[in-house]
């Protein structure tokens, strides 16, 4: 095989999920009436912003060879904290800050710190106390959701302060600012993972933790940072969620975790760690979102969504095995 076809083939393999996305969009556009509209595509991006942001944090931890099941509950807690502080109806306390715009950084900071706090607790228990990541974050998934229920008393907060809501309403090039925030997150974290020593170290830790330790990389520090980041990013997802729903309910975001996992796996991240990239994850998120949109447009009962998502995850895993086979032959 000459180097050029080889490189072309590797490029296709590396970006397979993007090609899948384009393929699926093309098929839908051809066969589903009214699918091919800018508004629909904008909607797909808009609808995937919360899930997308959450998937970034999850992907970071999984690439580093661990697991974080708590991201969904952490996002809900972040949203609830923002909701209680800055909503004016329901259980909202309607805190007012002057000038108005000050509520934006403050609410964002609240959501991020709530997430980072849970993340650092997870990180400490998993990395320093050497407990199992699956169990620790499963526990967090349960207790953080419990905390959301407890502080809200099962009720909801409505009418988020307009200054914060502005991010969900104001549009730039047809997309609300919240969607741009998600895109920005993907760009920033993709660069961090691909171009900085920190990102490189996370990937290598996920590949062979012993080797990185022996090479003098501060494995524990890097892993704890990854967990804190996953928490903080989940907090950001919560902030976006609060804006999107203009408040917070006790069961906000239930089920997002499994979609996030699906997106991460479809995006080419291996659950064994060390493999995967964030652009792929974003494509995975968009793929899920475009399929949801297609189901809506075709007027299929929404109950089918889950079946299709599940099959898609299966297909993604099979595709991954297939890809491995091709790569082996390439080398």
């Amino acid at each position: 095989m000459n180097p050029r076809t080889r490189r072309a083939l590797e490029f296709v393999l590396d970006n397979l999920v993007w090609f899948m996305l384009i393929f699926v969009l093309a098929i839908f556009s051809l066969f589903i009436p009214n699918y091919f509209q800018l508004g629909i595509f904008a909607n797909i991006i808009e609808a995937s912003s919360v899930l997308g942001v959450m998937s970034i944090g999850l992907a970071l931890v999984i690439i580093a060879g661990h697991m974080d099941l708590s991201v969904e509950s952490v996002a809900a807690l972040g949203a609830m904290a923002v909701g209680i502080l800055f909503c004016s109806a329901g259980i909202g306390m309607g805190v007012q800050l002057h000038p108005q715009w000050l509520m934006v950084p403050v609410s964002l900071l609240v959501a991020l710190s709530v997430g980072a706090l849970v993340g650092s607790l997870n990180g400490y228990l998993i990395v320093q106390a050497r407990m199992n990541a699956f169990i620790i974050t499963l526990a967090a998934y349960i207790w953080v959701r419990g905390l959301v229920l407890a502080v809200s008393g099962g009720r909801s907060a409505q009418d988020l302060a307009p200054a914060i809501r502005w991010f969900g309403i104001q549009r730039l090039l047809g997309l609300p600012l919240t969607a741009w925030i998600a895109i920005l997150c993907f760009v920033v974290f993709s660069l961090i993972m691909a171009k900085t020593p920190f990102g490189r170290h996370l990937v290598m830790i996920g590949g062979n933790e012993t080797a990185t330790f022996r090479a003098g990389i501060r494995v524990k520090r890097n892993l704890i940072i990854a967990f804190v980041l996953a928490g903080a990013i989940a907090g950001l997802a919560g902030w976006l969620l609060a804006i999107r729903t203009s408040g917070a309910t006790a069961n906000l975001g239930v089920g997002l975790l499994f979609n996030a996992f699906a997106a991460v796996v479809i995006g080419g991240v291996s659950l064994k760690g060390g493999v995967g990239s964030l652009p792929g994850v974003y494509a995975g998120v968009l793929l899920l979102s475009s399929i949801n949109t297609a189901i809506n447009l075709m007027g299929l009962p929404a109950n089918f969504t889950q079946v299709i998502h599940g099959l898609l995850v299966l297909a993604a895993v099979m595709l991954d095995t297939f890809k491995q086979g091709i790569r082996q032959r390439l080398a």
Partner: protein, 254 residues
């Protein structure tokens, strides 16, 4: 003997009730190649891990360049100038050759104050290092998982030759190498030693020890059973020291 680089004094290591090392004392000089021999379970790998910061000794003292020294982590040992090549390969197979070569020591340049990997600079260095060692790898950008065992070990060996330091510990470095690569590996060791770097090599193969080492240290049941200059002993005598049949040729070198 040349100036002592590393001196071990009565190093002990217990794992619970098991005494893996029961008072190891010997020294390594600058530019000296010491072959560390011993049967399976004699404590060779444990000793290497203690020197390289992977394990802490239960008791005992180490002097590195005349100063008391104890590495708590591999990073500390590395900072002091101790490089280690382990028996089970220490490569991340999920990243490419260049990333492995620079693991933990990436070349970066600042972009807006943020350290960014300088891939091109790193690739140039790796290209040069591999070429000068005569190792051929089709693409430096292919992931290590797609390389053969010999190529992987060559990367590890070239890595330590490149980074050098002051003392190199090699734990069974040639296990996966072919005849020609082993010969080249042994040459590499001599070259490294001639630069004044101390080398400790653990091996099972008597022939290799006699080919490359200045001095042979035998460990048996966690103590030094023999410490002799290469010229003053024979493979048979060393085998006897390893199995403990006699103590012929035992005693300090020189």
């Amino acid at each position: 003997m040349s100036e002592a680089l590393l001196v071990l004094e009565d190093i002990r290591k217990n794992f619970g009730a098991i005494e893996a090392l029961r008072g190891i004392s010997f020294s390594i000089g600058k530019g000296e190649v010491v072959a560390l021999l011993g049967d399976n379970g004699a404590g060779k790998s444990t000793l290497v891990k203690i020197i390289s910061g992977g394990l802490e000794p239960t008791s005992g003292k180490m002097l590195f360049e005349g100063k008391e020294f104890l590495a708590k982590t591999p990073a500390e040992a590395k900072a002091a100038g101790i490089e280690t090549v382990y028996q089970d390969l220490s490569l991340c197979t999920n990243v490419d050759v260049v990333a492995n070569f620079f693991m933990g020591r990436e070349i970066t340049r600042k972009v807006l104050g943020i350290p960014v990997l300088d891939e091109r600079a790193m690739e140039t260095v790796v290209e040069k290092a591999l070429a000068s060692a005569g190792t051929r790898i089709p693409s430096l950008r292919s992931n290590v998982e797609h390389l053969s065992g010999g190529q992987r070990q060559a990367i590890e060996l070239n890595r330590f030759v490149h980074w050098g330091g002051k003392l190199v510990l090699l734990d069974e470095p040639f296990a996966a190498l072919g005849v020609d690569q082993t010969r080249r590996g042994l040459e590499m060791i001599r070259k490294v030693a001639s630069q004044g770097i101390g080398v400790v090599i653990i091996t099972h193969i008597m022939q290799q020890a006699f080919q490359v080492a200045d001095r042979i240290v035998v460990i048996r049941h966690g103590v030094v059973a023999g410490d002799v200059a290469r010229g003053k002993t024979s493979p048979d005598a060393v085998i006897n020291m390893i199995t403990g049949e006699t103590l012929a040729g035992a005693g300090p070198a020189g």
